[in-house]
């Protein structure tokens, strides 16, 4: 089964949560729920800003070191975009439940998945942002995230955006980046062997994909990258639809 690179999302479908989103891309499906601002236990509260709690739950079994690492990346990223100073002594809870992962030959074996734990990061980030938007949480900006795999064999190299798990695992290096809607980098995670030129090319490519005003880039950087998959446009259209539906009564 070939998983679709096209993202899809379902917004505000959990009626008990303040905000929720189910996002799928590349064979990964993540349910995200946001609750907040709510009361926080005394021992955890921060006097000047909101506490953000990120919970990542794997598709099978209980979370371990891998999930804690993903949570720490998500936590430091979301802290930058949520206006935490608006809600001192409150808690904002972001729960991300992975429900679907792409098929691989060692399903359920943690050893193989451990090497590629970054593959799910863009889906987690995107789900968290969409769930926050659905909860109308005050944000400074939104972020969009893209993964890129580089396949290099000596002379030639090929960039693949939104790689499948197979492409991800066979790549010489993989890069996950997230940008704000103004084109500022927030997350930069790289894994594997690559040169500084490779990295710079990836940086520019992802920036173009995450940033609407950067749509025009020169042909060299566009190698192996189709014009589609602009994540900012996707978030815009998904949210625009939801807002229009919510405010159907508004003239």
């Amino acid at each position: 089964m070939v998983a679709s690179k096209e993202p899809s999302v379902l917004l505000s479908h959990l009626h008990r949560a303040d905000g929720s989103a189910t996002f799928s891309q590349n064979g990964y499906t993540v349910i995200g729920a946001v609750n907040g601002p709510i009361e926080v236990p005394r021992r955890h509260e921060l006097p000047e800003e909101a506490v953000i709690e990120v919970l990542v739950r794997p598709a099978a079994g209980v979370g371990g070191t891998r999930e804690r690492h993903l949570e720490s990346i998500l936590h430091s990223t979301l802290r930058q975009i949520i206006l935490v100073h608006n809600f001192p002594r409150h808690l904002i809870q972001v729960t991300l439940q992975i429900t679907n992962t792409p098929e691989n030959k060692n399903t359920g074996s943690k050893v193989v998945q451990a090497g590629s734990h970054l593959a799910i990061l863009p889906a987690l980030l995107q789900t968290a942002v969409l769930a926050l938007l659905s909860a109308s949480m005050p944000l400074a900006t939104i972020l969009t995230s893209v993964s890129i795999a580089i396949h290099a064999d000596g002379k030639s190299r090929k960039l693949i955006t939104h790689p499948s798990l197979k492409e991800f695992e066979s790549a010489s290096s993989v890069h996950i980046m997230a940008f704000t809607s103004h084109g500022e980098p927030l997350v930069v995670e790289s894994q594997g062997t690559f040169t500084l030129e490779d990295w710079e090319e990836v940086f520019e490519t992802v920036k173009a994909l995450c940033h609407a005003e950067h749509n025009r880039i020169d042909d060299n950087a566009m190698q192996g990258v189709d014009g589609k998959g602009n994540m900012l446009e996707f978030v815009k259209s998904a949210m625009g639809e939801k807002v229009a539906q919510d405010l159907h009564w508004h003239t």
Binding site: S12, A135, S136, P138, A140, V235, V243, W249
Partner: protein, 246 residues
């Protein structure tokens, strides 16, 4: 009204076109919910919604339906009494949020000798007097200037229904029929159904009528209008159905 208002879709952090903001020779610009001002002169939205402007009042705000109720000064809310201390009640405005305080003397005609006896679970219709990010919200059930209740106070009988924040806003519009495309209540009244209603900005609506069956039917009709986004015609049909069944 519609002629002075415009609306466009915005996302958090979008750069607003200065031409889209209203300008007025004398009135200062009023920023409503969903916007923030970054000194010196940047205004950006913080939520996804429709940017609305009112040239006459020189106001700009973002209209959205969502999430959790955040207390704001002047809002009317339906609160549940949780417990009482020496001279205050602790009331819950939304679940799992810090409790709001309601002084026992801020009821109509309350004195140190005659204060209202409210136990756990009692409902009050109250106004938010203080809402500050660093402090728990404070409520009152009496108008400070006149000393009269003006419709606020304990709600006895009836039942509370949860609705979305957007629906609460629609119900509280000065002209819900023209501005909010909401005719369900007028239609129910027109069918001869007698009921009392109180709408809380925190996404709660209290309904009371002379029978439990009627109360539940009316509450459900309001919830259905909200969840299924019923059009005016569908609301009329629903009101007729509800009135027939009661």
């Amino acid at each position: 009204m519609a002629s002075t208002r415009t609306s466009t879709f915005v996302l958090p952090g979008d750069r607003l076109d200065p031409a889209s903001l209203p300008s007025h020779p004398t009135l200062p610009l009023k920023l409503g919910p969903g916007l923030r001002h970054i000194p010196p002169n940047t205004i950006t939205p913080t939520v996804a919604g429709q940017l609305c402007t009112d040239k006459r009042k020189n106001a700009v705000w973002v209209e959205f339906n969502g999430g959790r109720y955040i207390p704001t000064t002047g809002d009317l809310v339906i609160a549940t009494i949780q417990n009482s201390a020496v001279d205050i009640f602790y009331a819950s405005v939304s679940d799992y949020a810090p409790k709001a305080t309601l002084p026992q003397l801020s009821f109509e005609g309350a004195t140190k000798k005659t204060r209202p006896q409210l136990s756990f679970g009692a409902l009050v219709y109250a106004r938010v007097t203080h809402a500050n990010k660093h402090m728990d919200p404070e409520l009152e059930c009496v108008s400070q200037s006149t000393g009269k209740s003006e419709g606020l106070g304990p709600l006895t009988g009836g039942m509370v229904f949860d609705i979305s924040l957007g629906m609460a806003r629609r119900l509280m519009l000065p002209k819900p029929v023209e501005q909010g495309a909401l005719v369900i209540l007028d239609e129910l009244g027109g069918q001869g159904v007698a009921f009392e209603i109180a709408v809380g900005r925190n996404g709660k609506v209290w309904v009371n009528s002379n029978s439990v069956k009627g109360t539940i039917a009316i509450g459900r009709a309001i919830q259905e209008t909200d969840e299924k986004a019923l059009k005016i015609e569908e609301q009329r049909k629903l009101a007729k159905k509800v009135a027939r069944e009661i």
